[in-house]
């Protein structure tokens, strides 16, 4: 049963490559949209409930490279920050927490070393330990877990994996549907409903929001505790006249949309702000912090 009285967390998810905010489709074809700490500051001021930073190229370097970005964000924003990408050990976790993370999201390393969940929970509390799960639906209709930011299929079935990570002491699950990610076609609500019914711990739904109605839809149809959102918020910020010229990466797209008042900047994406999204949800009987 869906409890309408619970508060839903609206969580901008900022994928980072090098020093830039990037956004792709199915985690690929990344476009540069701006600077991470500029994005996080604006989201904080506009009432985001939490922020997720994800290093999309961490596995290429074998480690998370967001320390400076997290440290500069932490000086200005006072809401929970989850940081993920390339986190492999307790030392990696400690280092991110010292730089300002409140929680870490781990995916790839857990398939080799699920004990890491327990170690993180024992050392820093289970609330620090967010298990990030990227899934695709296989031809036979079962959900399989991907690692390496969507590049490798582990062959592990989603619900087997969920049972395991919950037993090891996960605090939260960040569930990304790679099939829907970046498409703007809406969330995979049946997946999220199944997972949130299965998990005794909070689940964050990620992947697919193309307009604010999609966010309301996933809240109404599932027991998700939060919604992670990228495109619809990022494209709004990218089109604002912020003083941020990125130094590297694919910027042509960014130049073309600066100052564009039309809020359908990319096909299928109707951009919005955190404030606007929350007022919309609130007027539809969802409890959000506004």
């Amino acid at each position: 049963m869906v409890d309408k009285h619970k508060s839903i967390r609206i969580i901008p998810r900022i994928d980072v490559k090098g020093e830039n905010v990037v956004k792709g489709v199915h985690l690929e074809g990344l476009r540069v949209l701006g600077y991470p700490s500029v994005f996080s500051s604006i989201y904080y001021k506009e009432f985001a409930d939490e922020i997720i930073f994800m290093d999309t190229v961490a596995s290429l370097y074998g480690r998370n490279n967001l320390h400076d970005i997290v440290a500069s964000a932490a000086r200005e924003i006072f809401i929970p920050m989850t940081v993920g990408g390339g986190v492999r050990s307790i030392d990696d976790v400690r280092m991110l927490l010292e730089h300002g993370a409140d929680k870490v999201a781990i995916n790839t390393a857990l398939f080799l070393n699920p004990d890491l969940i327990k170690n993180v929970a024992d050392n820093f509390g289970s609330s620090c330990m967010v298990v990030s799960i990227d899934v695709i639906k296989s031809d036979s209709g079962i959900y399989e877990c991907l690692s390496e930011n969507g590049r490798e299929n582990t062959g592990v079935e989603l619900f087997d994996w969920l049972e395991k990570v919950i037993n090891f002491g996960a605090g939260e699950v960040l569930l990304t549907s790679v099939d829907n990610e970046g498409t703007g076609l809406g969330f995979d609500t049946s997946l999220i409903e199944e997972v949130s019914n299965f998990c005794p711990i909070p689940v964050i739904a990620c992947g697919g929001a193309g307009k604010k109605e999609h966010v309301l839809d996933v809240i109404n149809k599932t027991d998700t505790g939060g919604v992670a959102i990228s495109s619809i918020l990022h494209y709004d910020l990218a089109s604002r006249d912020l003083d941020v010229e990125s130094k590297e990466g694919n910027k042509e797209f960014l130049r073309n949309i600066k100052g564009n008042k039309n809020n359908e900047i990319r096909k299928g994406i109707t951009s919005t702000t955190v404030n606007e999204l929350k007022s919309y949800l609130s007027s539809n009987s969802v409890h959000v912090r506004i």
Partner: protein
């Protein structure tokens, strides 16, 4: 005035928030640091029993109680608020610092609790406890508005034995609990003020200005 922070859990962001609102803080490294302290924050994430053992093994428990009796303002955050109470049923019934009469209990042991997910993670409103002896403007919640929301992460909740020690109430899954407590110089928040945006920063500033 310097704030001394007990070294438990992830205290980096707490220290950052204190400095953002103009305070200074240092980490407590030994009993001597506690005995010199003018203000003490007891943070903490994790297990009540483990935290109490840590405090006892270092002799911090008695030092904190001594300072509390001298009138030093003590702020417990999250698990830190729970440690101020007489006992908790986390893992097994364990004695706390006993600075405020009250108990800490599992949500799922309360018959009013529905099937909400545990831990309670997220933003919840804090509501004035009309039976409190203090009004908010004469407390750590000065300037905070009814139903302002704060960020919570917890699996157990606090209930003070005397309702007038509870400044604010919050509700999760049908269970109403003490989300802010204050008994003279002993203060506690179940939520994380360092992670509760402007509302939380206001509360930390109030603590600095005591």
């Amino acid at each position: 005035m310097n704030i001394s922070v007990i070294d438990m859990g992830n205290i980096f962001n707490l220290q950052r928030a204190i400095s953002f609102v103009g305070g200074r803080s240092s980490i407590i490294k030994n009993i001597e640091d506690i005995l010199q302290a003018k203000k003490i924050i007891l943070p903490g994430v994790g297990n009540f029993k483990v935290a109490m053992e840590l405090l006892r093994n270092k002799g911090y428990d008695e030092a904190i109680i001594e300072k509390a009796n001298e009138g030093v303002p003590i702020l417990g955050i999250c698990l830190g608020q729970q440690l101020l109470m007489e006992s908790s049923e986390e893992s097994e019934l364990t004695q706390g610092l006993g600075l405020i009469p009250g108990e800490v209990k599992y949500f799922y042991n309360n018959k009013l609790f529905d099937d909400s997910k545990v831990p309670n993670i997220g933003w919840r409103p804090i509501i004035d406890n009309k039976e409190s002896l203090r009004i908010w403007d004469d407390s750590i919640l000065r300037g905070v508005v009814q139903n302002d929301q704060c960020y919570f992460v917890h699996s157990l909740y606090t209930q003070t034995s005397k309702i007038d020690h509870t400044l604010s109430l919050s509700n999760y899954g049908g269970v109403t609990f003490s989300s802010t407590v204050q008994y003279d110089n002993i203060i506690g928040c179940q939520f994380h003020p360092e992670k509760s945006g402007d509302v939380g920063l206001k509360i930390l500033k109030n603590y600095i200005n005591i």
